[in-house]
Symmetry: C2
Subunit: 150 residues, 2 copies
């Protein structure tokens, strides 16, 4: 499987979110053959909806699936607890992470639960996220539940 190719779909979603002024995290779900099942992006800002993270949006768009063990969830940024919980609950087999520099997530927790985690350290994902956090730290902190931290 060419994970870099799969990442492009998620990155395009993140780029679209970035251009909309939203949190630039994109995600996509594929079947075991690399066929796209659903793609999405964080839309906290665009829709005023804090429940739409990139991963939950792609999961939603993929619709009901009989099993997720053979599915591949690709995300531009390491998943937060909310999205890590989603992955663990539904036993998503493989998670491809564009980068974990700007947010390290909980990748070891996922690995311990048996998830196949693949890290790509994609420069474009890293730059886009860093640019957003530098420009809008208020929105970023709100999105990771830290807006009341000092």
């Amino acid at each position: 499987m060419n994970y870099e190719e799969l990442l492009k779909v998620a990155r395009d979603q993140a780029r679209k979110g970035f251009e909309e002024g939203g949190v630039p995290v994109g995600a996509a779900m594929f079947d075991s053959h690399g066929n796209l099942l659903g793609e999405g992006r964080n839309r906290r800002v665009q829709e005023g909806d804090p429940s739409i993270h990139g991963e939950t949006d792609a999961f939603r768009k993929a619709g009901r699936q009989k099993t997720y063990r053979d599915k591949i969830l690709v995300t531009t940024l390491a998943p937060c607890w909310y999205c890590s919980g989603l992955i663990r609950q539904f036993n998503i087999g493989t998670v491809v992470v564009g980068e974990s520099i700007n947010f390290e997530g909980h990748l070891d927790w996922l690995r311990e639960a048996g998830v196949n985690v693949i890290e790509l350290r994609d420069p474009e994902c890293i730059d886009m996220m860093k640019s957003f956090i530098d420009t809008r730290p208020d929105i970023w902190n709100e999105d990771i539940g830290e807006c009341d931290h000092t």
Copy 2:
């Protein structure tokens, strides 16, 4: 705070879901004074959307909040990993659980993260959930990501 009163709102949502043929889990979010901010229910069946659990729906309906530390999330059933991750990520201060008999969830994991977890062991929540699991184990297993288990 009268948590039994708050639970009624979530239970009414669960009841509505039950009557619709859906997974009967309801939830509601309140501020620290007990004012309702949002309520919702699992709508996997009703909308063909696996991302809508009771807790994520109530969270969504409450809209963007500056902090969740002073909020109360009430749910009829112990939260799964997906919803537990939501609670932990956004630092929701208090979680009221209608019952944890039919699904024990991960309440200790939440407590270790500093969440104030209150268990009510409500007979009506227990009976409604048991009735659904007995009648539609296929949908229930799909909802907790176990549909490919034997």
